[in-house]
Symmetry: C2
Subunit: 177 residues, 2 copies
């Protein structure tokens, strides 16, 4: 919760600035406005020999559950660079990106999840600091009941459907609470 101005440290008011249509955190002293906007989570469905790279989370939320390698996009990178970086950080794997695959808005948590399709450059991987384990799993080994996030479930379902159909599409949708 924003209480203070991050420029001068004074208290903020939550008011609609002139010309704006939504309330913002406006500094009572210097007038600086702190905007809050949705954050992008970028990740990857990475294959090797028909198997898909999954990570078991070593952090909250959803400690112990399985996920696709993904995380918050950083300043100074592209979405694809972010997906490659996260796959390396969380799964110790080098991945080549093929194409964007799924864009999933999650308005109630102010996030947008973007997953790419890609391939491991070699069958090497290792759990990073944020993972308990990393595995290459066959489609019939995916732990559907132990997936960390609905966006991951949705992405994997679409991915396997498209793979079976022999053609990958780009999918865009949203999740409600």
């Amino acid at each position: 919760m924003i209480e203070h101005c991050n420029r001068c440290g004074s208290k903020v008011d939550f008011v609609t600035p002139p010309g704006d249509s939504l309330p913002r955190h406006v500094c009572s002293a210097c007038g600086h406005i702190q905007y809050e906007n949705p954050r992008l989570v970028v990740g990857c469905v990475a294959e090797w020999d028909g198997r898909i790279l999954l990570c078991r989370r070593a952090i909250e939320p959803r400690y112990g559950y399985w996920t696709l390698p993904a995380g918050f996009m950083e300043n100074g990178e592209s979405t694809a660079q972010g997906a490659i970086r996260e796959t390396h950080e969380e799964a110790g794997a080098k991945v080549a990106i093929d194409a964007p695959f799924a864009l999933i808005s999650i308005p109630h948590i102010n996030q947008v999840h973007l997953f790419y399709r890609g391939r491991l450059e070699s069958p090497e991987y290792a759990a990073g600091d944020e993972s308990l384990a990393v595995a290459l799993v066959a489609p019939d080994e995916i732990p559907w009941g132990e997936l960390a996030f609905r966006s991951v479930t949705l992405c994997l379902e679409r991915y396997l459907d498209d793979r079976s159909a022999g053609q990958f599409e780009f999918h865009e949708t949203f999740l409600n609470p």
Copy 2:
């Protein structure tokens, strides 16, 4: 520039927190971390009778230049809802979204631009507070030399190419400085 904690108002340090790989703005008193992440700009290529909706900017940056209706995505909305909202705010137009069309990372300004394809529901439009003018322009009337942003130029080029080819693809790329 972040100088103060937005929770307690104390001074921040720019240091790499334990377990992190990048420096962040960390409060020297309460330890709260203020993350900075790229922002999504969402917009629309909206057609009516073969013409495309453009807005002439009434705000900086690029005052007086032409752009597609687009703006920063807000918390609590999906990317498509944001594109519809911005088209209504800037161009006074109601648009039906067909599909995502172009995703353009711009790492040096920490933005990701997402443009949809859509259609006006009726040929009604009007300049909003952030527009000097709004127009439905034929492809040969697009003011290429007076477009506000490179992402808009790129999106319109791809759009007209795809339209000529009779098939719309989803385009993903990035822009360097």
